[in-house]
């Protein structure tokens, strides 16, 4: 979708719908910037309510984009989320697809 590959609106349908939601995109970006984080940290970093975060974390986990584990951190049980290699790849693919579309719209 550059000069050699002009914008094809049909490609927009290829956008990953799991990541395309602003809420899940926020979560993915947060998890991309840390190795792992607990539920509280992600709540603050995304400004999401606990219920909303919980529902969207489950969707991302079902898609295989994140891994959720119960771990003991400093002897306290925590719900820890981390991005998986599949999730990283999906986010990169998403940005590779969306980036040129946005670039062409700006021109």
């Amino acid at each position: 979708m550059t000069e050699d590959h002009p914008l094809d609106p049909r490609e927009i349908s290829d956008l990953d719908r799991v990541i395309h939601s602003p809420t899940r995109l926020k979560i993915m970006l947060v998890l991309m910037s840390v190795e792992e984080a607990d539920f509280t940290f992600i709540t603050h970093a995304t400004d999401l309510t606990r219920g909303n975060l919980s529902a969207n974390l489950t969707k991302l986990e079902e898609a295989g984009y994140i891994k959720i584990e119960k771990k003991f951190i400093e002897r306290v049980p925590k719900t820890i989320a981390s991005i998986t290699p599949v999730g990283k790849k999906a986010l990169e693919d998403y940005s590779s697809l969306l980036g040129p579309i946005l670039d062409q719209l700006r021109e």
Binding site: S33, E35, R50, T79, I80, E92, G99
Partner: protein, 191 residues
Amino acid sequence: MNDQITEQTKQLRKQYARTFHNDGLLDFFVGWAIVSAGIYLLTSSMIFSFAGWMPILLIAPLKRHFVIPRFGYAKFSKSAPIPRPVLIGAGAVILIGSILVSVLGSQGFRIPLIVGLLGLALLFALGKGFNRVSVYAIFIPLFFIVGLGLNVLTPALIMLMGGVLMALGVYLFVKFLQKYPPEPEEEDGLS
């Protein structure tokens, strides 16, 4: 666009690390260590040479008790090494600063020059996004080596500086507690 993601995540990481250290604990205990050093210089009492640094051991338990439950836990990957131009720039500033201090130092410009240079170094470090630990690790030895080496630091001035940091620590800690109230126990609905 992938570069943009990398840049975004780098910025986020810096922002989280800064917030994590913005609880005032480090500032308070570094301030106390400086106050103790001032008292030690004034009284030569050995107690204060230890009393200053011992409470720093409390930072980790206090973080566990107050900060992590409120702000949350995150593990950051190792940050990239400091870029060479930044290191060269910092070296040049120290070199030029030393020359300026030695040339103009005898003409009564010593204190304003040192304060100015230390202030610039602090602003530079904070502006580059170094976290508080790195900033204090650079700033405190410089403060004492330069200040005491040039005989411009009095115990009163040292205690004043420590007091200011302690007050800053208390202020930041109260702000942190207000901004991040206690979180409910693990009610995340995730199995």
